[in-house]
Amino acid sequence: MRKQLDRWLGPLAFVLVALDVWLGLWITPPDQVQGDYVRLVYVHPAVAWVALYVAFGMAGLCSVLYLWPRTRSLAFDYAAAAAVEVGVVFTILTCITGAIWGRPTWGVWWTWDARLTSTALLAVMFLGYLALRRVPAEPHVRARRCAVMALVAAVDVPIVHFSVNWWNTLHQGATVLNANLSPRIHGSMAWTLLLSFIAFTLLFVWMVIARYRLEVLRHSGENKDLDRALSERRAEGAEA
């Protein structure tokens, strides 16, 4: 079962993404207002969804599991790290696809809209997490620090979200994301949209698993290394 999953997950994710792109680019109709740029709707929201909710949610959850004494295991630390790493990629992709979309629709690459701003903050928090991981420390020390950081950041996300929303809407109305898609949505568009969410989530899962595997592999390599290092260490004493 697991092997099957392993074998099929990656290809499946890619096939779905390819299908999504194909449907998005060639099958669905262009929008009356936005023209062909609307096709980004099959990429951008899904990518954003993964970055914001799936990645950070997973990182937060794994961190709690690590900190909880009964479930404390470096596996959760690796999983959290994998989620954040892939999450950073998706967050940056969100910003890039958003910016590409913003250029024709708003005329600018970036604006200080609530959502964009909170996404940027999130990206910086993710980056901070990765910076913290790079500080040399014992595995469990690092795991503890990183878990606390991820948890604190995860708790901060809703606060940031609300405050940024209020921050912006107080001064000016929701000028940006008022393009309500639902009335104009075409049947094939709705399906493609749904597909995009599934496809990118699967892509995320696949990437996280790969990153996690790599980490575990490195660690098991470490274990083998440890055995060799142990005998080398003992030999140090013998030669002295």
Partner: protein, 221 residues
């Protein structure tokens, strides 16, 4: 827990009083930050008054980073930190003690900054209550977040650059809510300010709670 908190707060404040680093270095920095912001955005008087709340909270935020550095530096070298870990102090108590000491220092800073604001930027405060509530809530939130993150960020040589990156994004809600509360306090939008004071309150409660819960595992090692 509270006994340990009192002990730790006493230690921090005593070292602080003896070294006077906060008095001579951190407080001047804050005033300086205010002035620099004025340089960068001045000299139009109208724009300055308009940006006064932003200036105040930015200065407070950047000063908080220094306070956080200092609060951690008080704990001394790695050897000293290790010795302290061998004392069997309750981590929650340590967290609370450090937070209380930092809170007191931040309140002093806020008083100074408010005075600076009134004198330098000719701001007229309408609702003192909102202003004071915002300051106290923010001080608590900033203090607890700083102590928690100070413990995250390792040794001195790394900390002086790592801590700002970790701490500042977390503090963004305080910045936003603080600016808004101040705008309300200045324009007497007391009705409006409630929501923003709420953000500040949630922030400080959440971080104090997280600190009490998580400081143990963090300092474990």
């Amino acid at each position: 827990m509270f006994r340990d908190a009192a002990l730790v707060a006493g230690r921090d404040l005593r070292i602080e009083l003896r070294s006077r680093v906060v008095l001579w270095q951190v407080l001047p920095f804050s005033v300086l930050a205010l002035l620099l912001f004025a340089f960068a955005f001045g000299p139009s008087q109208a724009r300055l008054v308009q940006s006064a709340p932003g200036l105040f909270w930015l200065a407070l935020l950047f000063s908080t980073v220094l306070f956080a550095q200092r609060s951690r530096a008080l704990e001394g070298s790695p050897a000293t930190r290790e010795a302290a870990r061998l004392l069997g102090l309750d981590p929650a108590g340590v967290f609370l003690g450090k937070t209380v000491a930092l809170f007191l220092e931040l309140v002093v800073l806020e008083v100074l900054l408010v005075v600076g604001l009134l004198l330098l930027f000719h701001v007229v405060v309408v609702s003192w209550l909102v202003l004071i509530a915002a300051c106290l809530l923010a001080a608590l939130g900033l203090a607890s977040a700083s102590v928690l993150y100070g413990a995250l960020s390792g040794e001195a040589r790394i900390r002086s650059t790592l801590l700002p990156v970790l701490l500042l994004p977390i503090l963004a809600p305080v910045l936003i809510a603080g600016v808004r509360s101040f705008q309300a306090a200045i324009k007497d939008g007391a009705g409006l300010s409630g929501r923003w004071l709420g953000v500040l309150a949630v922030f400080s409660v959440v971080y104090t709670g997280l600190g009490i819960a998580l400081y143990g595992p963090l300092e474990e090692n």
